[in-house]
């Protein structure tokens, strides 16, 4: 098992967002997490990346407990997050943003750049532009590209399709599938759009109000009516 999260509790101030969440990711597996707004998906990734301290529970990554490690340490161990709001360095060029992604792998920045550019040729074309001048879709590519620059074992992507046009989303999905095929890295994809999430993942977890309410193989989940219910809450 690559990542074992068990009994995770977390929140902001005294507001509990995650309630006893347990999630597993196997080597090479793509796991989708979806749920409506406020279900705790993004908070979950924040805790995984080390940006938010959990109240309780354990996170084991490659056999080592990481819940007390700072984010820098986790990046070094092979976890990378393409975060909500993308958190790009908007005043830096596209290439510099990518280079920063290799902070923990500075020796191989050239190879990493080449690799990422093959997945995202449009980033190569725009490499001299400021990240702030990119379109939403290109920024999302940059965010994923930057995360890939650290040669992660586990790539975490928050809100993959948020605010993007359908055509862009399709392209991103294709690229992710390709990355997975070529590099065999594991992924956690947090996504609102159910069909997209299920399409690119092996397994999925459904979050509702901070709890895991359903999990299973993506193909099976797609057929279940429970998803529609969770989303639209129509009785």
């Amino acid at each position: 098992m690559l990542l074992e999260v068990s009994d995770l509790n977390a929140g902001y101030g005294d507001v509990q967002v995650l309630k006893s969440v347990s999630v597993n990711v196997r080597e090479g597996e793509v796991v989708a997490i979806f749920g409506s707004n406020g279900s705790g998906k993004s908070t979950f990734l924040k805790v995984l990346a080390g940006l938010l301290k959990p109240w309780g529970g354990t996170i084991r990554f490659r056999g080592r407990n990481v819940e007390d490690l700072p984010p820098e340490e986790r990046v070094r161990m092979g976890m990378a997050l393409a975060a909500e709001g993308r958190r790009l360095f908007l005043g830096m060029s596209v290439e510099e943003n990518l280079m920063m992604g290799s902070w923990t792998d500075r020796g191989r920045v050239k190879e990493n750049l080449e690799r990422v550019y093959t997945y995202f040729p449009e980033l190569y074309e725009k490499r001299k532009d400021l990240a702030g001048d990119l379109s939403g879709g290109q920024q999302q590519m940059l965010s994923i590209g930057r995360a890939l620059m650290s040669n992660p074992v586990l790539l975490m992507i928050d809100e993959l399709s948020l605010g993007l046009a359908p055509a862009v989303v399709s392209r991103l999905a294709e690229i992710l599938l390709r990355i997975r095929e070529e590099e065999g890295i594991s992924m956690i994809v947090v996504e609102q759009e159910v069909s997209l999430a299920l399409e690119i993942s092996d397994r999925a977890y459904v979050f509702d109000l901070g709890e895991v309410v359903d999990e299973g193989r993506s193909e099976d989940l797609l057929r279940r009516d429970s998803i529609k219910k969770t989303y639209l809450s129509v009785l």
Binding site: L209, L232, V234
Partner: protein
């Protein structure tokens, strides 16, 4: 006559169009739910109604008068009360003082009797001398509600009152809202993600997606609307999955 008319309201933040030509109206005492995915512009709409944010285009008419040039405090005095997604209590002041301030400045009279009445309505009377910062989340939401009611509102804007609460608390707040509505007849606009709860208090829903109203009507129709399913579940799901 309509209590509130929103006409063609648009708003951009730095080139990003958050609201596009939003129009709707609300009758006295009516309850309206506004739902939509993240970033669809719901909170911005509430901010425009309460005057915290100025729209670029369009107009807001409250009780027959355009309020576009009025600052939030003036709108509060006209009878627009609101709560916030993340509670914004005066945390270093007492529970009672949190209600006395809007009673005096928004409602016109800081009558301690009235304050206690409001606090007992939301079930916080025993806590009146405690610091607002020491309350639990559910209690904070109740206090915000009492505070919004202190301006003697004709219209109550509620931004995600149920968010972060457990099912029991959701139930309690829901009952409280119903009670408030039957006692005061105040009109309400609820921006909400917890749809189950929302549908128990209103039959009229507006769905916002990317700043546009894509659905208006009863909850049942919502689940059947192609547009809505697309907005929530994505293009592929709407056309029948894989």
């Amino acid at each position: 006559m309509s209590l509130l008319v929103v006409e063609g309201v648009s708003k951009s933040f730095g080139g990003n169009r958050v609201l596009k030509e939003v129009s709707f109206s609300l009758k006295e005492g009516e309850i309206l739910g506004i739902v939509g995915p993240n970033g669809s512009g719901k909170t911005t709409l509430l901010n425009i109604l309460s005057g915290i944010v100025k729209q670029d285009k369009g107009s807001v008419i409250f009780m027959g008068k355009p309020v576009d040039r009025l600052r939030p405090y003036a709108r509060a005095r006209m009878g627009i009360g609101r709560t916030f997604q993340i509670t914004r209590l005066f945390t270093n002041l007492s529970v009672l003082e949190n209600v006395l301030i809007p009673l005096h400045y928004g409602g016109g009279d800081a009558d301690p009797g009235r304050a206690e009445e409001l606090l007992s309505m939301v079930g916080l009377l025993e806590m009146k001398d405690r610091k607002a910062g020491s309350l639990s989340l559910a209690q904070r939401k109740r206090l915000e509600l009492a505070r919004a009611l202190s301006v003697n509102p004709r219209l109550l804007l509620l931004d995600e009152v149920f968010a972060g609460l457990n099912p029991v608390s959701i139930r309690e707040i829901l009952d409280l809202l119903k009670e408030i509505h039957s006692l005061t007849g105040v009109a309400m606009i609820l921006v909400e993600h917890v749809l189950k709860a929302l549908f128990q208090i209103t039959r009229r829903v507006i769905v916002l997606s990317e700043g546009r109203i894509i659905y208006e009507g009863e909850p049942e129709g919502m689940a059947r609307s192609e547009e809505v399913i697309k907005a929530y579940l994505g293009e592929r799901y709407a056309s029948g999955g894989k």
